[in-house]
Amino acid sequence: MLYRENGQFKTSYAADQQIFPIAQDRWAILGILVFAFVGIPLLGDEYLFRAILIPFLILSLAALGVNILVGFCGQITLGAGAFMAVGAYAAYNFHIRIEGLPLLVSILLGGLTSALVGIVFGIPSLRVRGLYLAVATLAAQFFTDWVFLRIPWFTNNASSGSVSVSNLQIMGWEIATPFDKYMFCLVWLTISALLAKNMTRSAIGRQWMAIRDMDVAAEVIGIRPLFAKLSAFAVSSFFVGTAGALWGFIHLSVGAGRFLGRSFVPVAVHGHYRRPRLDHGQLLRRSLHRHAADRVEPVSAGDRRTVRGHDFDGRRVACRVDHLRLTDHFFPDQGAPRYRPPVVHRQGKTPALAISALSRAGEPVSLLLELLSQTHHYYFNKRRH
């Protein structure tokens, strides 16, 4: 981290709840957007667009999806390639089987189909956790590969399993040149990122994070794991699916099932775990060169610090834990909550969290009160604006 939020005080709920509460973040994002929309079109040549930037944008979109599932909901998945394939083939089938279906609708339908499939493959997550789940999601990968290879209907009986669509256009805008494709993907990614960011700031986003930090504890305070986990799977698969559809329509053809996707898994997952630590991140990026991981660098997931919950919301978790300890301290003889959830240790291990928690340690509110006030802040805020 090059900067911190020290000294940036908020005086209203609105200021506290905005998308990027830290000024540097706002300016950085704005800068990147301006550069992407204005700078690159001025600088880039056709080769850059086609070979690097377009796949970069599409894989960023996939990484965004994986980020939601892994980073925000804590459900480790290795099946992203499968959902890309599902999205791609679904969008293709909608597009060719329904005469005159607009491109945008096809892609969205592809994403929705992928979301449905994602829910199905997300069901094991209700019981299976952690690395077991990660490996189990590979089942989705192998199964979808097999299905697309084996059932000719999905590929419109193309004996190779390879399909593609030509003459892409949206409301008269013919997406033909690499530049058009780049702009289309960029707009799509920007909107998706905004949607995702807002979703993670909302009630459902907080549910995901609670599940991530400790699902049993989240369940105890009334979050339904069924809804939270499956919604994360659905939303994640939607984004990954649209990425697959874009890959199939805009970038390349929808390749033979087996070869599509599998190599994106590390890229997409890597996209999320982009910088767990500088040296480690560099090691990964270098070694992932073959998978063109360099392309998944800056824009993608919006929030780079979610990996370990260092962000805005992660801080809250640490904070409410701290309140428990504080209560403990204020009522030493009353046997007030003495049993601290293990989450204390998990979060407490992150010194940054501990410190940020310190800055808030002034208000002695217990866990439930804090949660109530959180939701209250949220709704209060929403009503006012």
């Binding site: 204020f330 030493p332 046997g335 410190i355």
Partner: protein, 270 residues
């Protein structure tokens, strides 16, 4: 405190996490051979960090001692690994017990003897000794640590540390999450060990009341600094300590909402 028999001397250490977060801002204290010294203070005061700095477990947390010295019998120990420190007789019992959940109680204890090289007989002897101090552990010796109660786990953690035959034990919040009776039991055993085996204890506690009852000497930490020190009995009698750490004041119990309370407290935190 006389300087003749100082076992551990910590001299204005500064600890920084992640290269940016300053947690200890010059903490100094010393522990005499055979004593029980308590580090007291609220959350985030730096008690655990201090203990970790001594036992060199900081590195795993991305923290480092950037200034000051830590001396064990006049030997600088900041650069040693935890394993080397254990061999020198200093061992930490971590906050939250940290038993090896899937090992049996006895395996937990035996694992504590990893650094010992005197052979099986000596280790078996120590094991018996631990069982005499913690008879409860003997009855649970074959059960998986994860399935024992919090108190048993705390005992297991302390017993495990004893298996290394230490001269000094750094005990981090032994009372955490335990029922008052169990806390009493644990502290009694700590005092026994101190008196009968001559083990030195450095104790970090939030439960000020309990800690001051058993310790000889205490330091109060706030915001990474030592703000007050003194013999345990003196501290327990101090008005400010009574109010801020024992929840008592001359006027009896008070609401924490009391504005004056905060104002007075502020002086401490500057």
């Amino acid at each position: 405190m006389s300087t003749a028999n100082i076992l551990l001397k910590v001299n204005s250490i500064e600890v920084i996490y992640n290269h940016v977060i300053l947690v200890l801002k010059g903490v100094s204290f010393s522990v005499p051979e055979g004593g029980i010294v308590a580090l007291l203070g609220g959350n985030g005061a730096g008690k655990t960090t201090t203990l970790r700095a001594v036992s060199n477990l900081l590195r795993g947390e991305r923290g480092e001692v950037t200034k000051g010295t830590i001396e064990l019998r006049d030997e600088r120990i900041e650069a040693l690994s935890p394993a080397q420190l254990v061999k020198r007789g200093v061992i930490q019992v971590m906050e939250g017990r940290h038993c090896f959940a899937h090992l049996s109680i006895e395996e937990n204890l035996l694992a504590g003897a990893y650094t010992r090289t005197e052979g099986k007989a000596a280790i078996a002897e120590t094991l018996e000794k631990v069982y005499t101090y913690f008879p409860r552990l003997k009855t649970r010796r074959t059960s998986q640590a994860a399935y024992t109660s919090g108190g048993e786990q705390q005992m297991c953690a302390i017993g495990r540390a004893l298996m290394a035959n230490p001269r000094m034990v750094l005990l981090d919040e032994p009372s955490m999450g335990l029922a008052p009776q169990i806390v009493d039991e644990v502290f009694t055993i700590v005092r026994d060990l101190n008196q009968k085996e001559g083990v030195t204890f450095l104790l970090a506690e939030q439960n000020t009341n309990m800690a001051l009852r058993y310790a000889d000497f205490g330091y109060i930490l706030e915001n990474g600094r030592v703000v007050m020190e003194g013999a345990a009995s003196e501290l327990a009698a101090n008005e400010d300590v009574k109010e801020f750490y024992l929840g008592l004041s001359s006027a009896g119990r008070k609401s924490f909402r009391d504005v004056k309370h905060y104002r007075r407290r502020k002086r401490w935190l500057s």
